[in-house]
């Protein structure tokens, strides 16, 4: 027996399984990052000696732009599939992947500068929060990259056999990807600007 509503939507909920699943997952991610944000706020309000070293705002701004762009290319990739344009999908998802790479490289440079200024997680609680939050966010980016690469490469064979299902997969990956972007949108002012 097939598992129902894997591809098609269940009439009373209007959802296919994967979409509900990913939103539930994202809900739990909200709580994960919520725990970190909560800690950040508490530590910061609770510590009269809170110290925040200068971080590179230009690099982070650039990275924000990169991540936002990758979100657009991701959503465009999905739209292309819905328009039955597989070539464009490939193009856009390759762009997404490359932008994600760019994000990670820039992040790497940033970390490097910080290390060279002798700023480590152990330096103070700001740096600890900074490295933990951006590190965890980076891991999420990395996870997303793996999936995007898979869907660009071997996973895309499914387009021939089950196009609708493949489109769903891309949609789900997109939802996740935008969430990662969304987290960054909050991390950026919280860690760099305030």
């Amino acid at each position: 027996m097939e598992i129902p509503y894997n591809v098609e939507e269940r009439p009373d909920t209007g959802l296919y399984n994967g979409k509900l699943g990913i939103w539930l997952f994202l809900a739990s991610e909200v709580m994960l990052f919520g725990g970190l944000f909560s800690s950040y706020i508490l530590l910061r309000t609770g510590d009269p000696n809170w110290f925040k070293p200068e971080l590179s705002v230009p690099m982070a701004t650039l990275n924000t732009m990169v991540l936002i762009s990758s979100s657009v290319t991701m959503v465009m990739a999905w739209a292309s599939l819905r328009l039955q344009d597989f070539k464009k999908f490939r193009l856009f998802s390759a762009a997404t992947f490359l932008l994600a790479c760019a994000f990670m490289v820039i992040k790497g440079f940033e970390y490097n500068t910080e290390f060279s200024h002798h700023l480590y997680p152990s330096s103070n609680n700001f740096m600890a929060t900074y490295f933990t939050m951006t590190g965890l966010h980076g891991l999420h980016v990395l996870g997303g990259m793996v999936v995007i690469a898979y869907l660009w490469g071997p996973g895309s064979r499914m387009w021939k056999t089950e196009p609708e299902r493949f489109t769903n997969r891309v949609e789900i990956t997109g939802l996740y990807w935008h969430f990662v972007d969304l987290v960054w949108i909050f991390l950026f002012p919280a860690l760099y600007l305030l």
Partner: protein, 100 residues
């Protein structure tokens, strides 16, 4: 998503571009604000406000929450409630600490 004609989808893609421009602009705005020498309170409020707008744009359009099913909203409403509890109750306890 099924009921969308190619025409609709093309329209959507145009919206995506607008959203992108808005996001980029708002990023510049946040950075700009951070160079105004505001005191902590307003600075935090303003930065969070801008981030909230940006986040809502991403959620509403890229994650197409605007046209999403009720069920998803229900899940998110719960999540937001518990998220707020997670942020504010510990903070409340910290501020309501017996000290001497």
């Amino acid at each position: 998503m099924t009921a969308h004609s190619p025409e609709d989808i093309r329209k959507e893609t145009r919206v995506y571009i607008f959203v992108f421009i808005a996001l980029a602009a708002l990023t510049v705005v946040t950075v700009g604000i951070s160079y105004l020498d505001l005191s902590t309170g307003p600075a935090v409020a303003l930065a969070l406000f801008v981030a909230l707008i940006k986040g809502s744009l991403v959620a509403a359009f890229f994650m197409h929450l605007l046209s999403e099913r009720k069920l998803i909203y229900a899940v998110l409403v719960f999540t937001v409630f518990f998220f707020l509890a997670l942020i504010f109750l510990p903070l409340g306890s910290f501020l309501n600490q017996v000290a001497g």
